[in-house]
Symmetry: none
C-alpha cells in the first residue's frame, strides 16, 4: 500500500504545492507518523523536498527515474552500504561508479560531497549527483540500453580506456564464498573489466542477499581487489569463509 501511496503523495504535492503533514494524513487516511515516514523515504529518493511541517515539490530535480520504485529491494541494507562506501572516499578523488541500485545508494551518500569527480555510465547516478551540485560528473558515452537507463557499448569502453580513477565501486549479481564475482550480463562484465583496469582500488558493493549466488558470467575475484562492502546480514559462517579465502570484507553497520 505504501508504494502506491508514495506515488500519490508525490503527485498530490506536485499539483497542490507545499502541503502540511496533517493535510496529507487526512487526505490519505493514515497517521501523521506514517506520512512523515513516507516523506523521509521520498526525500531520500529526491522526489520531494521536506520542509518543517510538510513537504514541497522539488524544484531543482532534473529528472525522476520511475523504474527505481520497483527495483529497490533491501533499501535499508543498500543505504548502509552506501554510507560505508562513501566513508572510504577522501575528498578530491576520482571515483568510478558502476550502474545499479547499490552503487546508486553510494552516489546518494556522495551527493553532498565537494571536489569529487565521479565517472559513471548510469543516468540515475548522474541525476543524483547533479542534484547535490558539488561533484563533477563525467558520463561515459555509449548506447542507451533499452531496459535500463545506463550506457554500454564500444564507445563506453573506449571512453574508459583513456581515464584513470582512484576508486571504483562495482556491483555484482552474485558472489560465491571463494570471492568470485558474477554478473548476469556479458556486456556489463566486459565493461567492468575495463573499470577494474582504470581504477587504482576496486571495491565490490553488494548486499548480503547476493552471497552464495552465482550468475551468468564470472568477471573476477575479490582477492585481486580491495574488498567487498556488504551489510550486516552476512552470516558469521559466510564472513569466516570469505576472510579465510583472503577477501577483505567491510561490513556496513547501522
Amino acid at each position: 500500500m505504501q508504494l502506491a501511496r508514495h506515488q500519490q503523495i508525490v503527485e498530490f504535492i506536485q499539483s497542490s504545492g507545499h502541503c502540511a503533514v496533517d493535510v496529507l494524513a487526512r487526505e490519505f487516511s493514515v497517521s501523521e507518523m506514517t506520512i512523515r515516514r513516507d516523506l523521509i523515504a521520498l526525500s531520500e529518493e529526491g522526489r520531494i523536498a521536506r520542509t518543517h511541517g510538510g513537504a514541497a515539490p522539488v524544484e531543482q530535480v532534473l529528472f525522476e527515474f520511475e523504474f527505481l520504485r520497483r527495483v529497490q529491494e533491501n533499501r535499508v541494507a543498500k543505504t548502509r552500504i552506501g554510507v560505508a562506501a562513501a566513508a572510504i572516499v577522501p575528498d578530491g578523488k576520482t571515483v568510478i561508479l558502476d550502474s545499479g541500485t547499490t552503487t546508486l545508494a553510494v552516489a546518494r551518500q556522495l551527493g553532498s560531497r565537494r571536489r569529487l569527480t565521479v565517472i559513471t555510465t548510469s543516468l540515475p547516478i548522474a541525476a543524483v549527483l547533479q542534484r547535490g551540485g558539488g561533484t563533477e560528473i563525467l558520463l561515459l558515452g555509449g548506447i542507451l540500453r533499452r531496459e535500463s537507463p545506463d550506457l554500454e557499448g564500444p564507445l563506453t569502453e573506449s571512453n574508459l580506456e583513456g581515464l584513470r580513477a582512484d576508486i571504483a565501486f562495482v556491483g555484482a549479481d552474485g558472489i560465491d564464498l571463494s570471492g568470485n564475482v558474477y554478473n548476469s550480463s556479458l556486456n556489463t562484465a566486459r565493461l567492468l573489466e575495463k573499470v577494474v583496469k582504470a581504477a587504482s582500488s576496486v571495491y565490490v558493493v553488494a548486499d548480503s542477499s547476493k552471497l552464495e549466488r552465482t550468475a551468468l558470467t564470472k568477471f573476477g575475484n575479490l582477492t585481486a581487489w580491495r574488498g567487498l562492502i556488504t551489510d550486516s546480514s552476512v552470516t558469521p559462517e559466510q564472513l569466516d569463509i570469505l576472510l579465510k579465502s583472503g577477501v577483505n570484507v567491510i561490513v556496513a553497520h547501522d
Copy 2:
C-alpha cells in the same frame, strides 16, 4: 488456468491501477496465496510491479525531466517545428540532435519512428527517445553541465569526431537576417562546429522569436547549411530578406 488468470490479472491491474492482494483474490475466486504466487511470477516477467499488499502496473515511462515542464516557451511553435523536422528524416538514417527545447520537440516527433539512430548530448532527448523504444540512442560522453542536463567537454568533442550522421538538427539562441547563427555559450558553439562537420546535412531549428536576435558567439551561417526550420510567426519581411540572402527556410505550419 493460471496462465489465463495471469493475463487477466495483468489487464485488471493495468485498468484499475494499484490493487490489493485480497481484492484480487476475491476478484478471481482464489486464495490470497495463489494471487501472491501469481504476482511473484508476473513481476519476475516484468509485467507488473509488486508492492507491499498488492501490485501496481509497471511504469512504461522510465524517466521524466521535471525542468522541462516549466521552461517550455513557445511550446506550440516548437511542436510544429518538430513535426516539420521529423518529416524530412527518412527511416533508417542517423540523426544528430543538439541539446535544447526545440531539438527536444524534434525528438518527441521522432520517438515513435523505427530503425533510426540518434546521436545526442541531451539527457532529456535520450529519455524521450528511450520511451519510444524504436530508436537506437547514442549518448556522447562528457561532463554533465551543472545548470542543464546535457553533456559537454573534450570527451564529447572527441566522441563526435569518430562519428558520421546523415542529418543534424541544431538549435540557436539568435539568428540575424543575413543568416548568421548565434549561440550564448562558447562551449556549445565549439561543439556545434564538430556537429556540423559530422553531418552530411545540417538544419537549424529555431522558433521565430530567435530571429533578428544575436548572442555571444556566432558559430556559422545558414547559407552554408541545409536550411532553417522555423514557425509561421516569422514575418513576411524577415522571410523575404532571409530568402534573398540565400537561406533555405522551411516554415512549419499547423
